[in-house]
Amino acid sequence: MSDESNAINASSGPERSHVGEVVESSTTELVAEARQLHGAPSFGQFVRVDSEVPIVGIVFNVFTHSIEPNRRPTAYGKTEDELRLEQPQIFELLRTEFQALVIGYLDEMGPVQILPPQPARIHSFVHVCSEDQIRAFTHTDDYMRCILNTVKVPTDELLIAALRQTMRAHGGDRAYLVRMGKELSRLLGDDYDRLSSIVRRADY
């Protein structure tokens, strides 16, 4: 087992506090409520769900809405700071949620880039993956296939956001980008325009 696999399995070590809690879950995706208003992980960020079998996902949608279906936010013409001073209740009535695409899970042997046998359990905590964990999970290129095979999400944009993050986790390693580019070229077949658009924007 590589050091990177060890890094991702070290979930019992010191943790960052969770960023969300699962409120809807399926085998392929999950919805989590952010712990803080506007405190969701960013689009394309890798997240890990505390579970018997820890599940790894990529955030593909973040949304903030009213907690009560019959009450809609209205415009006040004030800045957020002014509203916090003079209309403090409104921030208690809003909730930020995020959706994550499930791209794999972790077992004793390390990252597994196939869908987990069971979905994440409701109320499980969601954490942002550390760079070590991202590096371990993206050591192979299978996560790109997961993203490209999904129809519900803005595929190219999500792939670019994920690639940019993995590039950071791999310390801007040019060889890694080239390896991923080659794999992407294979996945996209003859669609050269699409490939070049993704690689160009991922390398920005």
């Binding site: 916090r84 209309q87 403090p88 209740q89 921030f91």
Partner: protein, 439 residues
Amino acid sequence: MLVPRRKRHGIGRGRSRVQRKAVGGKKGAMLDLFAVKNQIDDMVADECRAQEDFREKLEMAVQAYRGWQADWQTLAEKIARSRTSWLMPGIVEGLDVTPTCPQRPEKISIAATDGSQIFPDRHEISSCFLINIGYILLHYGTGEKPLMSSKPTLYYREEEIFEEWDGRRVFVNRELVGTKRGLMEFSELAALSLAAQEAGHSVLACSDGTLIQWSLEGKPHDFKDYVLGETMRDFDALEKAGLPVCGYISHPGSQDVINALKLGLCPQDTADCDRCPWRPENQLGCSSEEKEALQAQLWNGRVPCSPLDGISDAVLMRQILKPGQRSPVFRSSSKILESYGRHWIHFFYVHVGQEIGRVEVPEWVAQDESMLELVHACICDQAEKGQGYPVALSEAHERAVVRSADRESFYRFLRDTYVKNDMRAHISTKSFKKRHVGI
């Protein structure tokens, strides 16, 4: 089909079910909206006619109010020496006072509570009842996180669903639950605002609705003593802490000020409604000349004070006050307040922009200029923030409210828990039939 007006009244109104059946009225298990529509048309037509009279009455009320502004002491003295059959306000501040909205302190915390309930229903599987108190603490000017929550309490023990007052043991009814809820709202409000004050905040406590326990009039003595004892204990604690408290009544229907103006219209120097000389039953010993003289003082054939009947204080104040202004403070004369002591309730009306609200405060707030200003400023500010209704109160309501879907979920949950514990979950036949109506 056009139906003569007289006949339309007959449909569904004033006839027994058997008569309606015999006539062969519209069939259907639901509310007969067709029949109601005709009645609504009649009602609206009557109200249109009444509105014309209303404008005239309102104009008279405004003139009467303005007429007394300079000489309000005379009216106050007449109120003091007269005996009327209506609630008469004590004029403590003069009628010429209409203070504009003061500046709200930059940092202030508003505490508010509201309550809701699931009433006991003996047709359900249990006669238990539930009271849910919503409580809100909003901090202004500090950016602190507000407190917005609710606290449900279930009552199910024998001593909770049966109460004994005046030697009679009664199944707790809607009225008793309502009173209990009111007490809980007020005690939670006192506890919440006192705790916030202890934590270093400057607090105003806002109660939803009146601070006067009107409903206690005519109730058993021990019940009255219990409710007043609890209420006064909270008032005492708030007064001791110097923490202002107010009750806000939206769209008030009270007529205290109008009653004072009605008294002003009475030609008698000292009015005594029981011996009103314009009422025929009080004219038995009068000569025909005296009767004629009295007749001449009638207004449209009715007693001289009747022109202002049907006008509320809020409608009058809408003409007197500009947005942000409040009326002078009046002293309520409700009989129950004799038990309030230092907390005797005073009130004023305030133009909050969308409506005229009635604000009630205990005497020690009414007499403290800075507290009164704080109440005035905060109520206007709260109403502005809440688009016409104090935002803390509306949020407290949102936390407290038990909607019919919640009630159904509650009973479903109760039923499931009974079944899980192998207990008989029995509802009355009536309740069963309401849910499963056969043909």
